[in-house]
Symmetry: C2
Subunit: 337 residues, 2 copies
DNA sequence: TTGTAAGCGTTATCAG
DNA sequence: CTGATAACGCTTACAA
């Protein structure tokens, strides 16, 4: 194992100069710095993590707590984990997984042992027990998602309410007066916060714009497209020609299949908007207007806030809502006849 | 932050006694030990991770490298990550995620900086570049999966070849002489090792038992069940009444749907075995005989091997194949007529 | 611009 | 069975 001593010796300087040259925390003359960097590279020097933690009181590790419930949508979840890991790595941090059933135990443990510099919280529930922990530990904690009680917490999330407004506005602007929202599973509206926020955004704006709204929850299993199909068919029978979909890809597929069977062309006879979809809607058979979920943005901002909390003195806790973006693909049209 | 000093003071002993009492690495009298444990609990003492690493040369962290390619099946992947994290935690280890595109960089980094005690490798490719890294670093490395060149590596995996044998044997024993294997995506047979191993197991045993075998790869997208359906229909037309399925749940659903449409009852008119399925086959509409993938077993064994490598002196590298298990559900029957 | 040296909080070696 | 104490490898005042 190469130590800082050996690098110092090879470069003919003291160990503190090596430390400063590599961390950049003190100006070092160009020629000695290059000499040090060369020596470090040649020797394959990498600072000992333990020593660095102990002396520097920085671990360069973030914890990521993810409860992983049975109803977790795996691809979405993975996208968030990956996005977090990538963003963290770009800032020089590694990710420590906390998948305990009782995430609380893990949070307390890593905080008490100074194992991590900050904690990132994923898959936030309305009454998330991790909110209380976050308030009680000294370790900076960032929520990706929003619990009911946000007092004193730093949270990051897509503005699902605004996404709901946006979707209704586009359909209302096009002239629709009746809209059906194909929503998440029933349990999702209890276990998570964001489906409700989108729902309320849609409901409120529908009320304001005088749009009649139907809201349908979709089946729990990806395998039973049947219920989605019949719900869509019923809506069409009633003359509905505008859909907002906030659901997994299978639900999108089921809806599009029904529309095609009925000979209804999307963006022509019928309007469809996909809101906060976690998968790539470009894989669908028809181009669909989308309000994307962008895990990258949320996770990058979360990592950014964590770093800021470590580097700056008084960063105050608040909720950061990311404004939704509307990606047009021609799937919204004025109602026919 | 509570230190070992404060615990020692509170318990009226020296810090070394505290260390030994809590680690159990030296006998400590019952009464002083309880006094120490009480003090530690009351003060909420948790050893400082950095100090522990530096002094003890043990980090109590395992790295988990996961390349996360675009074609990764998210639910399966998550099951493995979760199983690893749970198993590791049970032994007192945390998991550090290494999701770099170039996993090699991460492995070298955590090894050189002594950030982790061992490295666990997931989602192993046939020509995995991480095999070379594993051989070059001092950090013990365990593969969950098997690359082509296993020389000097410690690997853990389900015995997919034996699983293939088992599946064919059951069908041949029941009297079937023609079998269709509904396999993974085409790309999976190039990117991963295990689909090939199952395929070869099936092919070899089919040859031995005089069973005529068809092998079909399935579509890349979960949304196009159509190709699976037509393949299944073609097989049925040709009189095939025995299927081995090594694929995602959608493929199972598509096959079962076709069978039902044709009025073929599973376990009666037609035989179906699901091999190495990563999802819960109990959610399917019909009970299916299964050779389960058991991520828990692989991951537990991997963690176990890692711990053993740290605690024992000479554990020699080798491949550990987990024998497949057959779970009957009545979906295999003798061919009719 | 560079060097010296005092910790950081444990573990583990030596004594007792 | 218990106590001192020397590492562990680095960061960061404090000096020069």
């Amino acid at each position: 194992m190469t130590t800082i001593h050996e690098v110092a010796q090879a470069a003919g300087v003291s160990i503190s100069t090596v430390s400063y040259a590599l961390s950049g925390k003190r100006p070092v003359s160009d020629k000695t710095r290059t000499r040090i960097e060369d020596a470090a590279r040649v020797l394959g020097y990498e600072p000992d993590a333990g020593a660095r933690m102990l002396a520097g009181r920085r671990t360069h590790i973030f914890a990521l707590t993810e409860p992983l419930r049975a109803d977790t949508h795996a691809p979405t979840h993975m996208a968030f984990v990956l996005a977090t890991a990538v963003a963290a790595r770009r800032r020089g941090y590694d990710i420590l997984l906390l998948t305990d059933e009782q995430a609380s135990e893990g949070m307390n443990r890593v905080a008490a042992s100074n194992l991590v510099d900050a904690i990132l919280v994923l898959d936030v529930a309305p009454d998330d027990e991790r909110a209380a922990i976050a308030r009680s530990v000294r370790t900076p904690t960032i929520f990706i998602g929003i619990p009911d009680d946000q007092e004193g917490l730093t949270c990051v999330d897509l503005d699902f309410g605004a996404a709901g407004h946006l979707a209704v506005d586009r359909l209302a602007d096009a002239g629709h007066t009746r809209v059906t929202l194909l929503g998440q599973t029933e349990v999702a509206y209890r276990r998570s916060n964001f489906p409700r926020r989108l729902l309320h955004g849609v409901q409120d704006r529908a009320l304001e714009r005088g749009v009649a709204l139907d809201w349908i929850t979709t089946g729990a299993s990806a395998t039973d497209a049947a219920s989605v199909r019949s719900a869509a068919e019923a809506a069409i029978e009633r003359g509905i020609r505008a859909f907002i979909v906030h659901a997994v890809d299978d639900v999108h597929v089921a809806l599009l299949t029904v529309l095609e069977e009925r000979g209804l062309r999307v963006g022509d006879d019928v309007s469809v908007i996909s809101a906060a979809a976690s998968f790539d809607t470009a894989t669908l058979s028809v181009p669909i207007d989308t309000i994307p979920l962008v895990p990258q943005q949320s996770c990058e901002l979360a990592v950014d806030l964590a770093v800021r909390r470590l580097e700056e003195a008084n960063v105050q806790a608040r909720v950061h809502l990311i404004p939704p973006e509307y990606r047009s693909a021609g799937s919204v049209a004025a109602p026919q006849g």
